[in-house]
C-alpha cells in the first residue's frame, strides 16, 4: 500500500501528538487552511454544476439526502441497544456518523486525482447536502418534534455553520463565475490545494492523537463501532452510487461520504441542541477512531468496494 504524502502528514501529526511533541499549528492558521479547503472544494463543485443541468441532478440529489436521513437511523439502534448508550448519547453519536467529514472527502479526492481516476466533479453538492439531515434526525430522535425545542436557534446553527456557508458559498460562486471566471483565483484555491491539505492534516493528526487518550474510557464497543459502522455505511453509499450510475470514482466518493463522520459541524450543533449528550464520546469516535481509519485504510477499501460494485452492476 503506497500512501499519499498528505496521508503521511496526517500520520506525522498523529505520531507527534502521541509522543506529546511540542508542536501545534496556531489556531488562526488552522482556521485559514480549513477556509481555503472548504472554498476550494465548493468552487470546484460549482464550476462543474455550471456545466450541468441542475434538473438532471435533482433525483440523485434527493436520493443522497435520503441517505443522509437513513444512516443515523441505522446507527441509532446499534448504539442504543448493542452499545447500551443513553438515548441522548446514541442520538448524538448517530448524528455524527450520518453527517460527513470534509477532510476525509478532500483526502479521497486527492487519492483519485493521484491515481488519475475520473469522478463526477459535482460531488461537493452531495457533500454539503449530507451535512445537515443527520443533525435534524439526531435532534428529533431525542426531542421529537417538540414545540419547546428552540428550532430557530438550532436551524441557524445547523444551516449557517462555517462549513455549510463556505461550501455552499463556494458552490454558488463557482456556478455563477464558471470555469473562466474562477481561473483568476485558481492560484490561491486550486494550485496549492494539496499543500494546504497536507498542513491541515498535520494539525488533524495532532488533534486526533489528543482524542486517543479518551479511548480507554469508552471501551471496545466504541472502537468497534468507529470502524465497522463506516465500512457498513460505505457499502450503502457505494451501492447507491452504482444505482445512480456514478463512475467508479464517484461511487467511491459517495461511499467515502457515507463512511465519514462529522467532527466540526455536528459537535457544534449537538452542543447547543442536545447539551446533555456527552461531547467527548462522539468526538473520540469521529475524530480519534473513524477519521484516522478512513484516511489510512478506509479510502483504498472504498475504492475496492466501488470497483467490485461496478463489476456486479456490469
Amino acid at each position: 500500500m503506497s500512501l499519499d504524502p498528505v496521508v503521511l502528514f496526517f500520520i506525522l501529526g498523529l505520531c507527534a501528538g502521541l509522543v506529546r511533541a511540542e508542536m501545534r499549528l496556531p489556531s488562526a492558521i488552522y482556521e485559514f487552511l480549513s477556509i481555503i479547503l472548504l472554498l476550494a472544494i465548493g468552487l470546484k463543485g460549482g464550476i462543474e454544476l455550471s456545466k450541468q443541468s441542475i434538473g438532471d441532478l435533482l433525483p440523485d440529489t434527493m436520493a443522497v439526502v435520503a441517505m443522509g436521513f437513513v444512516l443515523p437511523l441505522l446507527a441509532f439502534p446499534l448504539l442504543r441497544y448493542i452499545g447500551k448508550f443513553d438515548k441522548v448519547d446514541a442520538a448524538s453519536v448517530a448524528a455524527h456518523y450520518g453527517s460527513v467529514s470534509v477532510g476525509t472527502y478532500a483526502v479521497a479526492v486527492t487519492y483519485l486525482t493521484a491515481q488519475q481516476i475520473y469522478f463526477e466533479e459535482y460531488m461537493p453538492l452531495f457533500l454539503v447536502l449530507l451535512e445537515v439531515p443527520a443533525i435534524l434526525v439526531g435532534i428529533v430522535l431525542v426531542r421529537g418534534i417538540s414545540k419547546n425545542t428552540r428550532w430557530g436557534k438550532l436551524l441557524h446553527e445547523v444551516f449557517l455553520g462555517k462549513s455549510v456557508v463556505l461550501l455552499l458559498g463556494g458552490l454558488l460562486i463557482g456556478w455563477v463565475a464558471g470555469p473562466e471566471g474562477i481561473e483568476s483565483i485558481a492560484g490561491l484555491f486550486f494550485d496549492p490545494f494539496k499543500g494546504v491539505l497536507a498542513l491541515f492534516l498535520l494539525e488533524m493528526g495532532l488533534i486526533a492523537a489528543s482524542q486517543v487518550s479518551c479511548l480507554r474510557r469508552y471501551g471496545l464497543f466504541l472502537l468497534g463501532f468507529g470502524v465497522v459502522f463506516p465500512v457498513f455505511s460505505a457499502l450503502i453509499g457505494g451501492g447507491l452510487g452504482v444505482m445512480l450510475g456514478l463512475s467508479i470514482g464517484g461511487t467511491m466518493l459517495l461511499a467515502t461520504l457515507a463512511a465519514s463522520a462529522s467532527y466540526i459541524a455536528v459537535p457544534a450543533a449537538m452542543r447547543i441542541a442536545l447539551p446533555e449528550a456527552n461531547p467527548t464520546l462522539s468526538l473520540t469516535a469521529a475524530l480519534g477512531i473513524t477519521f484516522p481509519f478512513n484516511i489510512i485504510f478506509g479510502i483504498p477499501l472504498y475504492h475496492k468496494f466501488a470497483e467490485y460494485f461496478h463489476t456486479l452492476g456490469g
Binding site: R24, S27, K153, L206, I207, S210, Y263, I264, P267, A268, R271, I272, P275, E276, P279, L283, L287
Partner: protein, 104 residues
Amino acid sequence: MFIRSTKLITIITESALEHTLIDDFDRLGAGGYTITNARGKGHTGVRDGRWPTDSNIRVEVICDTELADTIAEHIIKSYYRDYAVMVYIGDVTVVKPEKSGKGG
C-alpha cells in the same frame, strides 16, 4: 475622577454558549460585557482549546449586586448541569474620568 464600588461577575464556560449568553445578557438588562478566549482545567477536565468543542470563554460583566445575582442564578439554573460552567462574583471599583450614565 469618578470612583464607584460595584460587582464583577465572571463566567468561565464553553465557547459554544457565547451567543446564547449574549442573548441572555440583553434580556436580563446587562449594559455590557467583555468576552475573552480561555483554556484550563476544572470539574469537566482539561479544556485546552484545541478543538471548538474544547474551547472556553471568560465572560465578565460589571453590574450592580442585584443584576449579578440574577445573572448568576440564571446561569447556574440553565447551564450548570450540562455545560462546563464556573461563576464567581467579586467586588470591584470602577474608575472613570467623570460621572456618566454609561454602564458596562
